[in-house]
Amino acid sequence: MSKEDVARPRRFDIGAFRELTEARIALGRPGAALPTKAEQTFLLDHARARAAVWSEVDWTRISAALNASELPSLPVASAAADRQIYVRRPDLGRQLCAEGAEALDRLAGSFKVAPDITIVIGDGLSATAVDFNAAPLATALAERLKARGMTLAPIILAERARVALGDPIGKALGAKVVVILIGERPGLSAADSLGAYLTFAPEPGTPDSRRNCLSNIREGGLTIERAAASIADLCAGMIKAGLSGVGLQAALEREGSASVSLTADEGNA
């Protein structure tokens, strides 16, 4: 530092560094409060996040979008009877309701050969994420899986689903791999993130350490195309290796493939 700098120190302006963090720094302080604009921006972000958690997915629209891509689908629900119960009882969100279980058994009975992959779309904790991203992601993913010779079950649309609801669904349909695309617990900055959880040989009681996960799938995060490519690679890798989760991560690292996050989103577990 030169003598001149010491003589005339520059005044630190935290506002000039805003782009270095997503944190809400340099908001200002009228007395002991937030400025009105910052206060209301926060409230709007919170309202969006709440709406994402509490609103219902437009399943009709999703089913129609899948149909347009020649992807049949089947709606089911978890054992949580409504959204209030769903948020309070994660255990019920991991089990199928009786009608759902029967519908899946009927579907499985119609298969000549069990499919390789079952894709499940679950609402999870963000209807917004599912409304925005689930149909395009499922379509892009199905296209890639089919191109690689993998067979697909109809896409299961699961209402009031936790991640582990994929286990009884995958088990009922006899799939080698179940992929559940599910709305992540919204933060204030992003309420539309989708997560993808993959499990080889799914069955109820599968520990989270046997799953692989991609998160933050949204515009401005992990894009649909990149997510679809990664999920398809993982499906192929799981079928080849005959396992998923921590074991697959180790196997992929040995081969020098890109590592995969195993971090489960706790809000959805």
């Binding site: 005044r11 997503e22 302080r29 919170h46 996040a49 309070r88």
Partner: protein
């Protein structure tokens, strides 16, 4: 042994002590999830009446989780001091409530500390209203020291929590400065790391230590990584002020966190050997929260609030500088809404203080809980009335790494200005010395001298 009470001819029977405690707990989603909650308000009140008639000594005779298989239960038994217990030894839980509210002065509360077990304190909290929880806690001063003095009556400290989604050094430093400009950081400047690698841990503690020492701030810093990472960092001579760990109320739940009591003792000794404290040697920092044991399936049929109080036995074995419940963070399946979060925050503060802990609270909620900033304002204000040692603040109340809402730095400015609370004395003197506050201790609108110091420092260029 079973317990029972009769209300207008209807007899309510509770099979054992843990069932009685669970059914007596004020309503919360976690106990309902665990299948332990009372069926309704009448059964709950019946349990509370039976509990009020229960001699405190019962808790010494009947263990909730057997000592043979749980080291936390053994610790609770070992900690019990017969002589300290003497003044309340003949009381029922209901009489104990009245003793706390009326008879006990500050000194009596301090001397009974190790006579009380977590279960006794949890039990009495279940038959206390919010006002009772505040009135008793406000009498119980717990003071700890490292570089600042935390917990003096009439004072409110703050943890400055400059988290960043990728642990970026500049992002962390800027966020910390944002808080310092509003007087937050006298409890600790503490970062929750996004990763748990040793290299990042060491980088973060070095960064925070440089910030603290360059600006000569009388406070302590912490990277809230796992205790095993802190131990390795200490071995390498990294500037570790405080050792952090999340803890819970059973041996099995602690194993889920990858710890046991021996490991905590090892870390405590290693950090003490570094001798970094200037005015005291309280140097452990623990976080807790109702629902932690249940989420690890390690609650053994015990209600979540009693499990939380048992956690405090673990904490007080290590003379911590700071303990806080992360009350609204664990999720709506444990505390459903603002009402449940507010009550739980005050219970945790009350139980921690009675057991001798320097109790703080992370006044917070997640976006899937039915809570908002109004609930947090209420909880903060009530906790200040109860004499909470510290709260946690982040820029604009939005934690961009952990994706939840805590308090904003401005919220602590509010608590200090409107409720007349002061920062830790050493930190208040620093705020005055660097020109962040005026003679009355109020933050100045434009702290020119401090901003010029920051501008001249090479922290930024």
């Amino acid at each position: 042994m079973s317990y029972s009470t009769t209300i207008e001819g209807t007899r309510f029977r509770f099979d054992d002590l843990k069932t009685l405690l669970a059914k007596a707990s004020p309503e919360r989603s976690g106990d309902q999830l665990a299948g332990l909650a009372a069926e309704g308000p009448v059964e709950r009140l019946a349990a509370q009446m039976a509990l009020a008639d229960l001699p405190l000594k019962t808790f010494l005779a009947e263990e909730l989780i057997p000592s043979e298989t749980d080291e936390v239960s053994r610790l609770i038994a070992d900690q019990h001091d017969e002589a300290a217990f003497a003044p309340v030894a003949s009381l029922t839980v209901g009489e104990f409530r009245e003793w706390l509210l009326f008879d006990a002065d500050d000194e009596a509360l301090e001397s009974v500390t190790f006579g009380l077990t977590p279960e006794m304190v949890a039990a009495v909290s279940k038959i206390m209203r919010v006002k009772d929880l505040i009135a008793v806690a406000a009498k119980r001063q717990v003071v700890t020291r490292f570089r600042s003095t935390i917990g003096l009556k009439g004072h409110l400290s703050a943890r400055n929590q400059p988290n960043h989604p990728t642990d970026d050094s500049a992002g962390i430093a800027l966020s910390a400065i944002d808080g310092l400009l509003m007087g937050s950081g006298d409890a600790v400047i503490g970062v929750n790391p996004a990763t748990d690698t040793l290299d990042d841990y060491i980088r973060i503690v070095r960064l925070l230590d440089e910030l603290r020492s360059r600006l000569d701030i009388p406070t302590q810093t912490c990277c809230l990584g796992h205790v095993t990472v802190a131990l390795k960092a200490l071995e390498r001579g990294a500037p570790v002020d405080l050792v952090f760990q999340s803890i819970a109320g059973s041996e099995k739940a602690n194993r889920g966190f990858g710890i046991d009591l021996a490991l905590l003792e090892e870390a405590h000794e290693a950090a003490r050997a570094a001798k970094r404290g200037t005015i005291g040697d309280n140097l452990m920092y623990f976080e807790t929260g109702q629902g932690a044991a249940l989420s690890a399936d390690a609650h053994f049929g015990v209600d979540q609030q009693t499990m939380e109080a048992r956690t405090y036995a673990v904490a007080r074995a290590f003379r911590p500088l700071l303990v806080n419940t992360v009350v609204g963070f664990i999720g709506p399946e444990y505390l459903f809404d603002g009402r449940q979060i507010i009550r739980a925050g005050l219970e945790d503060h009350f139980c921690g203080k009675l057991l001798g802990l320097p109790m703080g609270v992370d006044v917070c909620y997640t976006n899937h809980a039915d809570a908002d900033q109004n609930d947090m304002d209420v909880l903060l204000t009530l906790l200040c009335a109860a004499g909470v040692n510290f709260v946690i603040t982040v820029p604009g109340a939005d934690d961009v790494m952990l994706n939840y809402q805590s308090l904003s730095h401005q919220d602590v400015v509010f608590a200090r200005q409107t409720l007349g609370l002061r920062p830790a004395p050493e930190f208040a003197a620093w705020l005055d010395r660097v020109g962040l506050t005026d003679q009355e201790g109020r933050l100045v609108a434009s702290p020119d001298a401090f901003l010029e110091t920051l501008g001249a420092s090479r922290l930024w260029n």
